[in-house]
């Protein structure tokens, strides 16, 4: 029966060609949905200069007012301080806070102490300028919106449940491919895993849609799409890890919801700062005291059959503590508290000796310090200090230096330090554009293929198109995050979302380029796809910040 086998083979090849196209469509649909269902670009309120009669539109939820050119509302009046006051919108109405101006801020002639409410038609006095607080409709001129949201076609976004259906179908195709694995053993196991995955996906969707009554689900859809691919890839490798990964992802989804709930009111977040710091230090101390040493790094805690990396969770707390609302950012003169906390964290990490985690932490520190202060000089100083530190690490921890030895010379050390990288390159090239099929790859026999080298695993089994599409889908979150920055309900959200997105891209770069020998191999995970319970939990936690920065998350309910 040779003809039948050819038809079967053609079907297998057809499926492999279909999946990359399908993956691109799904990622496109997720991003298309992010652009739609936005409020139109209109001023929330306006400030009318009583002397000149000019009308200034107030566009953001939090606005800095001052003489500085970087202020959201620039007042060119010598009696106004560079950073004079902050005008904020909260669910209770509009408020104004003086941020240590020399001349003070007045509402209807009364000096502002702390946060003062502003009502329509109130007069705000800043320096020698008077503004009348008016409704947004007063301003008629058209406003330019971010390119991400402009020129969106009128066609409504794909319904959330339809997108979810497409994603589930993609995972189903992966299960089909895995079922027709070369040696044909355990034909049922991919389908059983798919069942469990679909249950988690739709469970999460149901909770979000009916219990939390969210209108938009595209960020979660993208995350579920990636998470599901990571889980399905494991079925032909270490089936047990696939289930652990799925459970961890479910926990991550719960964390995602909890974090969003926790940071709902940006003014109340500061109450959690100190408890969170203690939790973070506690987590790091636990891994030093009880951690098992693997590859020279005491980073893992074993609880029964489960292993856990507490430092992954500390990342989230770190961003949480680093971000803040605009009035707090402008009043607080120094980063001192944050820097002390950072030094403690980095010190504990140094004791652990995990180079990859320390690197990610350092990047998080830089990102958040920069987002808070905008001070490039501090950043350069910190990088210089870190370079100094790294030189010491390389001197005293030779196994770390070995990783650098093979960097860009992987073929020279193909049997030693470059072993993993050259296998990744060979198997990526062997996979071609469409891959050899789930479970047919050989990279899975190389150590850490499911985590550090997962980009190669995806490229070999599903083709380079899928691998690049997945990588770009994570990297493009930055574009989305940037587009929603000025529409966030507070700088707390835009700062934390920016850091989270930046961190995802840094992790992604270190993972993808580390495996392919463009950067040293540091053992950092690929967001969502790399196998690792604490890693998947932490990325779900990170995207909670991005989700929270989208104003639709809190303002609109179904």
């Amino acid at each position: 029966m040779p003809d039948l086998s050819i038809i079967f083979d053609a079907g297998v090849v057809g499926l492999r060609i279909l999946l990359p196209i399908y993956a691109i469509v799904i990622v496109y649909q997720c991003y298309a949905a992010m652009r739609r269902r936005r409020r139109s670009e209109k001023p929330l309120v306006t400030l009318c200069n009583t002397q000149t009669g000019s009308v200034i539109p107030i566009l953001f939820w939090e606005n800095s007012i001052g003489r500085s050119k970087a202020s959201d509302v620039v007042v060119s009046d010598l009696a106004v301080s560079r950073n004079h006051c902050v005008l904020l919108r909260r669910s209770e109405g509009w408020f104004i806070t003086d941020v240590g101006s020399s001349g003070g801020t007045f509402v209807n002639g009364v000096p502002v102490e702390g946060r003062a409410q502003v009502l329509i038609n109130d007069v705000i006095t800043i320096g020698s300028t008077d503004f009348e607080f008016r409704r947004g409709e007063e301003f008629q001129a058209p406003l330019r919106s971010s390119w991400f949201f402009s020129k969106v076609s009128d066609k409504p976004a794909m319904k959330a449940w339809k997108l979810m259906l497409m994603i589930t179908l993609f995972h189903f195709f992966m299960a089909v491919e895995a079922t027709f694995w070369n040696d044909g053993s355990n034909p049922m196991s991919p389908m059983v895993l798919f069942g469990a995955l679909a249950a988690v996906e739709w469970g999460f969707f149901t909770v979000t849609y009916f219990a939390l009554r969210r209108v938009n689900f595209e960020l979660e859809s993208l995350a579920l799409f990636l998470t599901g691919i990571g889980v399905m890839l494991l079925v032909r490798q270490v089936e047990r890890s696939a289930y652990i990964q799925l459970i961890a992802a479910a926990v991550g989804m719960v964390m995602f919801c909890v974090i969003i709930k926790l940071i709902e009111d940006p003014d109340k977040i500061s109450r959690f700062r100190f408890p969170m710091m203690f939790v973070a230090v506690g987590l790091l101390l636990t891994s030093i005291l009880f951690g098992k040493i693997t590859k020279g790094a005491a980073n893992w805690i074993y609880i029964g059959a489960f292993s856990f990396q507490p430092s992954e969770l500390v990342k989230i707390i770190y961003i949480f503590i680093g971000a803040g609302t605009l009035d707090k950012l402008q009043t607080k003169k120094s980063l001192l508290e944050f820097i002390v906390f950072s030094v403690i964290c980095v010190g504990l990490l140094a004791l652990m000796g995990d180079f990859g985690t320390a690197l990610i932490f350092f990047v998080t520190f830089l990102l958040i310090a920069f987002m808070r202060s905008g001070d490039i000089k501090t950043i350069i100083l910190a990088v210089a200090a870190a370079a100094f530190g790294v030189t010491f690490v390389l001197r005293f921890k030779p196994y770390v230096a070995d990783r650098f030895k093979a960097w860009r010379h992987a073929w020279q050390y193909a049997q030693a330090e470059g072993y993993q990288q050259v296998h990744v390159l060979t198997y990526i090239a062997s996979g071609g554009l469409f891959g050899v099929g789930i479970g047919n790859g050989f990279l899975k026999q190389v150590a850490a293929s499911e985590s550090d080298l997962v980009f190669g695993l995806v490229a070999e089994e599903m083709g380079i198109i899928v691998a690049v599409t997945l990588a770009l889908s994570v990297a493009l979150l930055v574009i989305y995050t940037r587009a929603i920055t000025t529409r966030s309900r507070s700088t707390f959200y835009s700062i934390s979302a920016g850091c989270a997105a930046g961190l995802l891209v840094v992790q992604l770069s270190l993972n993808v380029f580390g495996a392919t020998d463009l950067l040293p191999l540091t053992g950092v995970t690929f967001p969502f796809i790399s196998c690792g319970g604490s890693s998947i939990m932490s990325v779900w936690g990170l995207i909670a910040f991005i989700k929270a920065a989208d104003e639709r998350t809190y303002s609109i309910k179904r």
């Binding site: 939090e62 970087a70 905008g374 090239a429 071609g432 050899v436 990297a475 000025t486 770069s509």
Partner: protein
């Protein structure tokens, strides 16, 4: 909020840097994919599983050397062809890394960047390759070489086009039935995976007199009027240099044809270390040649630290001189070609875009000597055959006007010498250069000459019949 937006640009730069990195990686992938795939550990193409999809390997006349039939790799039905071309074609074990089936297995199996190695077996597009070798010539050379039961090599190539017609290495085994080599039988199969034509070096003995001659032609101005006195042995530099015969008063031409050690040892000493080193360097003795992605084993000649006696011995291919058979064939090809050698190749053609996939390029040329030196060497090597060899062995190289030199290289007290013969034919319809070596066999004329004779006659026959 505007400030935060501006600071967010930093993160945007990260993302753009990432996208650029992905672009750069894609570029690297496109450029290097084939070499990345072609790794010995690549499980997608290793073992006979990789060769199941490989295309047909033809000889220059279209005879099938290896093909896949019903998922099984089968080799030529003639055992002499199978064994003679083992090191050129390869076997299922892929242990012979320089063989075509090993080095080009991914391309033969139909690898390309778009499909990778992912096609199910029924749908793979394999490629066929046509080699320049002639199956009949290789079989003829193999039969003679294998009859000695020694390690050895024989290569014949067209010095005008670079096409290798015959390339045989012993010992070998039947690729249709590769041996399982373990501790009990490893001595029997010692060196079996090595292609001696490309990857071995041997003490050259008297064939090295070609190099010494080249030096003498360019540096001893009254060479043709000079004579040497051979008494069978002579003290040079405080120690003796021996000759196989007592030649008496002997001129340069006769010294070459009768292979007089004394004359050539004295020439080497007279010219000195620098001239000898320079000539050896110019003739490429210490170099490697790249033949279809395989680097030939480097020869060795260095007399900078030799004393006078050792310098004398070095001039007759002893001391620590080493040469590779392919390298000697190239040197002979250069003499025949007026000083310029065409780099050899085993590849004639390929189906589809195979030649592009394996990165095949037109053979390069190497300028080894000037045309005057080449023509004088040509004259003296022709004289060696017509004056001496032909009279000793009637019918030798019948139908060809061959220029050649034999060698009998001493390799130690308890071992028989290496038998050598290198040379070329002057015929325009059969422009062939050759090198034959039989390790630890005996006299060059007795052991290497019959192999060269069989190979040259068969190769000339092939070319003259339009092959």
């Amino acid at each position: 909020m505007k400030r935060i937006l501006r600071r967010n640009t930093l993160i945007l730069i990260f993302a753009i840097a990432f996208i650029c990195g992905v672009g750069y990686f894609s570029f690297e992938l496109i450029v290097n994919a084939e070499s990345w795939v072609d790794q010995p550990y690549n499980a997608h193409v290793s073992g006979s599983g990789g060769l199941e999809q490989a295309g047909v390997i033809f000889d220059r006349n279209g005879y099938i050397l290896a093909e896949t039939s019903d998922g099984v790799r089968v080799y030529n039905e003639n055992p002499s062809v199978r064994l003679g071309l083992l090191h050129t074609v390869g076997d299922n074990s892929l242990n012979i890394s320089t063989a075509v089936q090993s080095k080009y297995r991914s391309q033969l199996s139909g690898y390309n960047l778009i499909w990778g190695l992912n096609m199910p077996q029924s749908m793979r597009m394999s490629h066929d390759i046509t080699l320049t070798v002639d199956a009949a010539t290789c079989a003829a050379a193999y039969d003679v070489l294998a009859s000695y039961g020694k390690k050895g090599a024989c290569v014949v190539y067209n010095y005008q086009t670079g096409e290798v017609l015959c390339s045989v290495s012993t010992p070998g085994y039947d690729p249709a039935d590769p041996p399982h080599i373990d501790e009990t039988n490893e001595s029997e199969y010692d060196g079996v995976y090595l292609d001696n034509v490309l990857s071995s070096t041997y003490t050259p003995g008297s064939v090295f007199k070609i190099v010494t001659s080249a030096a003498a032609i360019e540096n001893i101005y009254d060479l043709d009027s000079r004579t040497w006195n051979c008494t069978g042995e002579k003290e040079i530099g405080g120690n003796t240099v021996t000759c196989t015969e007592t030649h008496g008063e002997i001129d340069y031409k006769t010294a070459m044809s009768r292979s007089c050690n004394i004359a050539f040892a004295e020439m080497a000493v007279e010219m000195g270390r620098d001239v000898m080193n320079q000539t050896a360097k110019k003739l490429g003795i210490n170099d490697t040649y790249e033949v279809d992605d395989v680097k030939t084993a480097k020869g060795h000649f260095d007399v900078s630290k030799a004393d006078e006696n050792q310098l004398g011995w070095s001039g007759i291919g002893q001391y620590d001189d080493y040469v590779n058979p392919m390298q000697m064939a190239i040197l002979c090809g250069a003499i025949a070609n007026g000083g310029t050698a065409v780099n050899p190749t085993y590849i004639k053609d390929g189906s589809g875009d195979l030649l592009r996939l394996i990165g095949f390029k037109k053979p390069k040329e190497h300028n080894l000597m000037n045309s005057t030196t080449a023509s004088q060497l040509d004259e003296v090597m022709r004289y060696t055959v017509s004056d001496y060899y032909s009279s000793q062995r009637p019918g030798l190289f019948e139908g060809l006007s061959v220029c050649a030199k034999t060698g009998t290289a001493e390799v130690g007290e308890d071992k028989k010498p290496n038998a050598w013969m290198v040379g070329y034919s002057q015929d325009q319809d059969a422009p062939l250069a050759f090198a034959c070596v039989v390790e630890n066999a005996g006299f060059g004329f007795e052991y290497a000459c019959p192999v060269a004779d069989a190979a040259m006659k068969a190769a000339a026959n092939c070319l003259r019949n339009g092959g």
